[in-house]
């Protein structure tokens, strides 16, 4: 059931993200992209399986690791979160610049100029 719930939730997040990207307000477009990248990260972690403990060795040397979740997807997602942060910041400054250049953040009007 967990998988079904996650699948539906991810589907909804992507749908809302797409809807936002289709708006003419640049800020909302940025939100949409952020929302979709969050959902993509969650998807990747889900792929690694949700059962098992944190992938950290128990207290020191030679210890058994036991059943842990997939460390590889976590490493990938960690990178993705940081890069997502960089691109969001960049997108926001671009938005600011669009406002400065065109005096509007309505994409329909920006194009008309």
């Amino acid at each position: 059931m967990t998988q079904v719930l996650l699948a539906v939730v991810l589907g909804l997040l992507f749908a809302l993200g797409t809807f936002l990207v289709l708006r003419t307000d640049v800020v909302r477009v940025v939100w949409g992209v952020t929302l979709m990248s969050q959902a993509a990260n969650v998807y990747l972690v889900t792929m690694g399986g949700l059962t098992g403990g944190a992938p950290v060795l128990e207290g020191g040397h030679g210890g058994e690791t036991g059943a842990v979740t997939d460390p590889l997807v976590q490493a990938l997602v960690l990178t993705a979160i940081v890069i997502g942060f960089g691109t969001t910041a960049f997108a926001l400054v671009l938005t600011y610049r669009v406002h400065e250049e065109h005096g509007t953040i309505d994409l329909g009007e920006v194009r008309a100029e």
């Binding site: 991810l10 589907g11 749908a15 929302l35 040397h61 960690l78 890069i83 994409l107």
Partner: protein, 810 residues
């Protein structure tokens, strides 16, 4: 002797490094950057000189997993093209110092020219098809930039686009040909390689390659594909149309790229592939292509009204002669091509520099307005006499010898074919060669007559040119004269050894190893000492040309009348196609410039392809397992969805940002539940930062929210639903199917530190966290990439904000 690895690599690095430094140098030196660029070219010329006499391959691994390496190969042909690129480069840069005085965009001009020179050297020395292709396209790109140097002139932009479209699309055909060759090499050589020259290469196993291609029925397609690349680059009929337009570039560029070097890349390719692919099909294809080009463009040159247009058509015509030479069989064919590359570069680069001087000093390039220039430009006139008569093919000037070789080769091929029972159509080859040469003679003399006869009244005062402009032209003229006189002294027994040995080594590189008879490297040329059929062909050319010259104007008008018929003009087809594509209604539907159009198209296509692929593969949804719902997870995910809905429905930007961070924090809690503590920590930090940045930026933005018409909301909702459904199905399918052998298992199994290392690794080194160890050790390069992305984003942010504050609006 093996070439020096250092010298070869330096040869490729120096021009590009020089190009990169040009903007800085320009700030210091200003217009004298020309001499800096000339110095860089001189260094390259020196490096090429140091390679003289060596043969062999130098390999630098590039993409080892695909067998792609930067292999460089030195032989006579490569050295010839390399010498032209760097040698003519020195002269053109020096000449630019005078010509470009007061022109705009000089830093860009010199940087591009230097980058071009580097690319051309790369084309000459590449021994690997991929490297050859990359450098080949780089020359096209730099040519595009240089032709469009005057960015405000529509004619420049038109010409730049045209040359780009023609040469780059030809290059793509060539790439397909290379891939076919690569594939064929897999069967013929035992391993699929891109190596063109050197040990274990295609050239070293030419017979096996041709046999393999023939059995697959791919020989003619490969010839056609490689031929298309060469024909577009070297302006062969019907792709010659871009070359006359390319004359919009500054004259030094025309002299350098569009006569001496870049257009030679095509004939270089033909020469390089000649030993590999020479067959009867090759002979027919390239001899026909070359002779057709030589004749058609020579006729068009007669109709030219502008001196640079005349020279452009003439360049295409002489390139046709070289291609025809390489197309014909035997050592003679190779000698024609090799020797004419050198001769043409000498006389044509000189003539272009002359044209630049005339345009600069007389103020016009119109042929009808010019005349009697020798009084004002005596040195230039002398250079023109040598170069134009060489172009006409008159003895004892340099063009005569290579043209005589063409006649000889054409005659031999025709007599051999007819004697072997071939059809009399073979006689067309020598006949067309003579016919085309008559027109060459006509326009050469016309160009020469700019300097003699009466000076038209309308032509004002003609200034004398600066030494920086006359000296390079005079030097090229002197070299052309020396090559020509070498033939005269050779008749008396004194050979011009360096030139003969050099051309001989070029011939070695283009001659077919097995099929060609005759000695290698024994090239020599001299005036004919007895009457032969081919000497009579030369005499016929000159005789008919001289007889026809008095009625030059009538011939020209006749050609112009024929040229005006639209369906006969390749330009008519080019303009029609480009204009048709440019103005078609489809563009307005596909390219609206609106983000939403592209997002809708992209989303729907991706969704359709994904779902279609599942359906095609017959994948069924996995069975539902009705157990194991963790209450905490349900709550967190539901809150996230509610947050996301609130983002979509947010009445203000502030409300939206706040609800967006609710989603973010819920995702962080999800990571905790999913046993990913590192992700949760990172997510919390990032989410906080993003919230702060959002608020900082929103403070500066207007409160625009945009109303959504109902119809549009419905349409967007449907697109969003399609995307959501695709994601749901994908998640269900992919989480249900976990592969047997996951990479992560390796890390988990090997994570525990062996007992003999003691606790220090984990306790002091923090090696207990598998995710951290993966990030900093095993995938450290990914982390480096991640840091670079953040750094670049930060730099871009600073630039975007600071540039505006400094007042740079665009």
């Amino acid at each position: 002797m093996q070439p020096s690895r250092t010298a070869l690599l330096a040869l490729l690095v120096v021009p590009f490094l020089g190009a990169g430094l040009t903007p800085l140098v320009y700030r210091v030196l200003g217009e004298r950057t020309a001499y800096y660029a000339a110095a860089v070219a001189a260094v390259c010329l020196g490096l090429v000189g140091s390679l003289y006499g060596t043969t062999g391959t130098v390999v630098v691994p590039w993409i080892p997993s695909y067998g792609v390496s930067l292999a460089l190969y030195v032989d006579g042909l490569a050295l010839l093209v390399g010498t032209l690129a760097s040698g003519v480069g020195v002269l053109v840069f020096a000449y630019s110092g005078g010509y470009m005085h007061g022109e705009p965009g000089q830093a860009k001009y010199y940087a591009t020219l230097l980058a071009f020179m580097g690319s051309m050297l790369g084309v000459a020395f590449a021994a690997d098809l991929i490297a050859l292709f990359v450098f080949w396209e780089l020359t096209s790109v730099s040519s595009f930039l240089l032709i469009g140097h005057y960015q405000d002139a529509d004619a420049s932009l038109y010409a730049a686009r045209k040359s780009m479209l023609v040469t780059v699309s030809g290059g793509l055909f060539m790439l397909v040909g290379f891939l076919v060759l690569h594939d064929a090499a897999g069967a013929a050589l035992g391993e699929a390689t891109f190596r063109l020259a050197g040990e274990g290469s295609m050239l070293a196993n030419a017979d096996a390659m041709v046999a393999e291609l023939r059995t697959r029925g791919l020989l003619v397609p490969v010839l056609a594909l490689v031929g298309l690349g060469a024909a577009t680059k070297s302006a062969q009929v019907p792709f010659h149309i871009w070359l006359p337009n390319a004359m919009e570039a500054p004259t030094p560029v025309s002299a350098f790229l569009h006569s001496a070097t870049m257009v030679k890349a095509g004939v270089y390719l033909v020469g390089r592939f000649r030993p590999l692919l020479f067959t009867d099909e090759w002979l027919v294809l390239f001899a026909a292509l070359g002779l057709a080009t030589m004749t058609v463009t020579a006729i068009l040159a007669v109709a030219a009204s502008d001196i640079k247009e005349l020279l452009a058509y003439s360049t295409a015509s002489h390139l046709g002669l070289i291609v025809a030479g390489f197309g014909l069989s035997g050592v003679l064919g190779a000698e024609t091509g090799a020797f004419h590359i050198l001769n043409h570069a000498l006389f044509k680069a000189a003539l272009f520099l002359v044209a630049g001087i005339v345009a600069h000093e007389a103020g016009t390039r119109a042929i009808d307005d010019l005349g009697g220039l020798y009084r004002d430009l005596p040195v230039t006139a002398a250079v023109t006499v040598v170069a134009a008569l060489g172009m006409a093919g008159l003895p004892p000037f340099n063009g005569f010898y290579s043209k005589e070789l063409l006649f000889h080769a054409a005659w031999e091929v025709a007599t051999e074919a007819v004697a072997g029972g071939g059809s009399p159509l073979w006689w067309l080859i020598p006949a067309v060669a003579v016919f085309g040469s008559v027109f060459t003679f006509l326009y050469s003399i016309r160009f020469l007559m700019l300097f003699f006869g009466e000076k038209p009244e309308a032509l004002g005062e003609v200034h004398s040119p600066p030494v920086a402009m006359t000296a390079p032209a005079a030097l090229l003229g002197a070299l052309a004269l020396a090559v020509g006189l070498g033939g005269v002294t050779a008749t008396a027994g004194v050979h011009l050894a360096p030139v003969e040995a050099f051309v001989g080594s070029v011939v070695d590189g283009t001659v077919v190893a097995a099929g060609d008879h005759g000695g290698h490297g024994n090239f020599s040329y001299h005036l004919p000492t007895k009457v032969t059929p081919y000497l009579l062909m030369s005499a016929l050319t000159v005789g008919v040309g001289a007889a026809a010259y008095p009625s030059f104007d009538r011939i020209r008008d006749g050609v112009r009348a024929v040229r005006a018929v639209d369906p006969l003009r390749p330009n008519w087809y080019y303009d029609g196609t480009v204009h048709g594509l440019d103005r078609s209604a489809a563009i307005d539907i596909v390219q609206t410039g609106q983000l939403r159009t592209y997002v809708v198209a992209l989303s729907l296509v991706t969704a359709a392809l994904t779902l279609g692929a599942y359906a095609a593969a017959g994948t069924g949804l996995p069975a539902l397992v009705a157990a194991g719902l963790e209450p905490a997870l349900v709550v967190v995910l539901l809150v996230a969805v509610v947050g996301a809905v609130a983002v979509g429905a947010a009445p203000s930007h502030i409300a939206g940002v706040l609800t967006l961070s609710i989603v973010g924090f819920m995702v962080a809690i999800f990571y905790i539940l999913a046993s990913a503590p590192d992700l949760a920590l990172t997510q919390l930090v990032v989410e906080t930062l993003v919230l702060v940045i959002f608020l900082l930026v929103l403070d500066k933005l207007p409160a625009f929210y945009g109303s959504i018409p109902r119809l549009r909301a419905l349409r967007d909702g449907l697109v969003a639903l399609a995307v959501g459904a695709t994601v749901t199905v994908t998640v269900l399918l992919s989480t249900a199917a976990t592969p047997e052998d996951v990479i992560a298992a390796y890390f988990v199994e090997n994570a525990p530190v062996p007992a003999e290392h003691g606790p220090v690794f984990v306790d002091a080194g923090g090696g207990g966290n598998i995710v951290n160890v993966i990030l900093v050790d095993f995938r450290a390069f990914d982390t480096l990439g991640e840091i670079s992305v953040v750094a670049m984003a930060a730099l871009s942010v600073v630039t975007l904000v600071a540039m505006r504050e400094r007042g740079e609006v665009r």
